[in-house]
Amino acid sequence: MTSFSALQSIVNFLKAHPPFSFIAIEDLYSLAEEVELVFFAQNESIFRMNQPPNAYFYIVKKGAIRLTQEQDNIAVLVDECATGDVFGVRAIFAEDTYLSSATAAEDSLVYKVDVEKAKKIVQDNSRVAMYFASIFASGLSMHKDEERKARRFLVQKEDWFFNSAGIDTIQIQPQKAVITCLLEKSIQYGATLMTRHKVGSLVLVNEQGHPAGIVTDTDLRKKVIAKGQSSDLPLLTVMSSPVLTIGLGYSLLEVLLIMTAHKVSHLCITEDGSTQSKVIGIISQRDVLLLQGNNPAVIAKHIQQSEDIDLIRHLRDQAEKLVHSYLYQELAIPLISNIITEINDTLIEKAVHLAQAKLTDKGLPPPDVKFCWLSLGSEGRKEQLLRTDQDNALVYEDTHDEEKAVAHRDYFLQMTKEVTRLLVHWGFVECAADIMASNPTWCQPLSQWENYFEEWISFPDEKAVMNMTIFFDFRPIAGEFALADRLKQYIFDSIQRNSAFLSYLAKNALQNLPPLSFFSNFIVEKNGEHKDLFDIKARAMMPLADAARIFMLEFNLPIYGSTFERFEAVSKLEENLKDICTSAALAYEIFIKHRALTGFNEDNDGRYINPKDLNKLEKQILKNAFETITKLQKILEVRYQVNYLQ
């Protein structure tokens, strides 16, 4: 027997809290039937770390639930859930043991929901599933342990640490500005201290100077401000404790391993490495990343200084390994692509420099006109994580002297041939479609480039559109950048004159519809070499990159940016597009990472993934990312009035 109004009380609660607020009311009533309200007394356990999952997930109705991880019999606070927070939800996606223990921090009322029965309702509501997955993917976590789990979802190799360059040899140094504070001091005092010293964390010590806990920005935000906690209380009420300590003499690798194993973001350095000795420093995950961040810089510097093309090739390989390790460390994709872009750009600059030197040696000094080397396509968008094809072009200044024009043309062609040859030597494959600066068509003075773009923009036929997706993403790498800026401005002006162009481009972008039937029926290649594989580049990444490009052109974005950066810039310019651009950037990050990992594992460009290799969570996350594409395409359709186009 069930009373409608009894269920109504749950539905009223659920519909006020995301992600349940996305579920249709009638589905909420079915869900409500699977809900029970449970009372947990303060300190009562709900589930324990390493236990197999219950058949339930939980929503806090009232009170607070602490998620902790036990390390050497000590509980470290991972997160605290308040009204409306969902926890223990991972069971929906992955069948694995709990990564943390849940305990009532105070008397609490918690809705428990039968997972098996709720599963269908959640899965049928893509926005709900998206919510869970996007939390995983975005780092906007309800629950750090689950987010971490989800972020690890792509990691298959255990030995990734050892592939990375250098991190096993760099020794940690105690950070100079470790700020300590007595446990009993007030939160207010601690916050003032952190602000004054511009630090993000504070080590709390007892009278002997031994570490007792850590307070971070996050603690203050989550435990004090968000809860309206009085700042007169002592710091020990909000600290994370105990502190994990290490001594000096550890390598970065070891530090990272400790942090990963214990799932903490800070380690305290003490005199003898134990908690019973004086604090001499603190090292955060961020510090480690920054220290590692020196490595690509070091490699880039070596490349700059070297004249030995075989050594440079070796450095490039080393850099690639580094990127590989970053991917497995789940660093943010924009950070990784920035690093690899920096290295690739350095290589190209080096190649241009070496090519010019070689020509000079042969008695061909550089002419008196300026040139600019342009990277195109994904390299132009700073999105290369792998060695893909070379896509590049050269633009140089015009001259009125016809004789000189021929000489310039010869010189730049010889130069570009040498550059592309070097790049091939360093592992960049030649472009199959010959879109390279060494192709006379794509090695032209500025006026000719303006003609090209004018032609493509005024008469956008299919081939032109295909070219455009590559050429509009140009980015200056070496030589005179002002030439690129002039070309960019010309393009913006030309688009102003040809108002239908963006609609045409939008229409074209809509042709690559995302595979919405992803779950039931993956859209895979029907035949050929890639039969039964899924083309993540064409079906997932291109639609997003296309949309970002159209926005870039509409909003005259002056940046030579990546797809993320374009979405990001637009989200700041146009309130209406803010939400969609934010999720689109996230979706792109997911795809690019997926592609990169597939590429590394299979030693190819990662373009084709086998749906059979995906686990449930990966499928879920990809599916959700596809939803963003669909939404974005609807927006394009309306914004650029695609339907009016014949």
Partner: protein
């Protein structure tokens, strides 16, 4: 004493097959309740009634609602809420409170039907209500009238539990009684009453209150069901 005799009389009627089967099943199930078991091993039904007034012998029940609490959890899908068809229910005192008017009872069922269902629903359960003696008495009055049996469920009063928690004396002044009415207690335990003065709204709030009170009293060593029974 009279109630005990009545119960004995009814039980022997059952043995002689002189009572309808569903009623006997209800009686047997309640007789099987063991109040000396640990609290969480029994089933509880937290309930509330809306009535035409406060006189258990003269007034009539307009609606009755209850929800199951078992092992410290409110089990929403095991819930009961019915309106009872009554003649001329409007009056100056109670109508403004429950706001159920005669015309709202179009969908209501006959009293006999509802109370018979209620007895099936509450089989083997300990009843719980706020100021329970009134709700239990008025239900019992009508059950007696219709079926000639008393209620066999033991019952728990959350009002009494709350006072016990505060060690308030039973005969305290009316002002202090006010501190134990449902609204005040819900405020104290930060329980939101979704639909005050509907039978289900009050029953759900009382159920949450019950979970809190039981927990606090358990901490004081009350571990068995009988420690909570009025």
């Amino acid at each position: 004493m009279i109630k005990w005799l009545k119960k004995q009389q009814v039980r022997s009627k059952c043995k002689q097959n002189q009572l309808a089967k569903p009623l006997c099943t209800y009686i047997e199930s309640c007789d099987r309740i063991r109040t000396d078991l640990p609290f969480q091993e029994n089933k509880y039904i937290v309930f509330d009634t809306e009535t035409t007034g406060l006189d258990a012998h003269k007034d009539r029940i307009i609606s009755i609602a209850g929800v199951v609490v078992q092992r410290n959890a409110i089990i929403y899908r095991q819930s009961f809420e019915k309106l009872i068809k009554q003649e001329r229910i409007g009056n100056k005192e109670s109508s403004p409170i429950h706001q159920i008017l005669s015309q709202d009872l179009a969908e209501a069922q006959a009293e006999e039907e509802v109370l018979q269902d209620w007895l099936s629903f509450t089989r083997g359960a300990v009843l719980v209500a706020h100021q329970a003696s009134f709700d239990v008495n008025i239900v019992q009055h009508h059950v007696l009238k219709l079926f000639d049996i008393p209620l066999f469920n033991p019952y728990i009063d959350t009002f009494t539990l709350a006072r016990r928690l505060d060690k308030a004396s039973i005969d305290s002044s009316p002002t202090s009684n006010q501190a134990y009415d449902l609204d005040t207690l819900c405020e104290r335990f930060q329980i939101k009453i979704e639909q005050r003065h509907t039978a289900m709204g009050d029953a759900l709030a009382t159920a949450e209150l019950f979970l809190h009170l039981v927990q606090h009293l358990k901490e004081r060593g009350n571990q068995k069901t009988k420690h909570f029974i009025s």
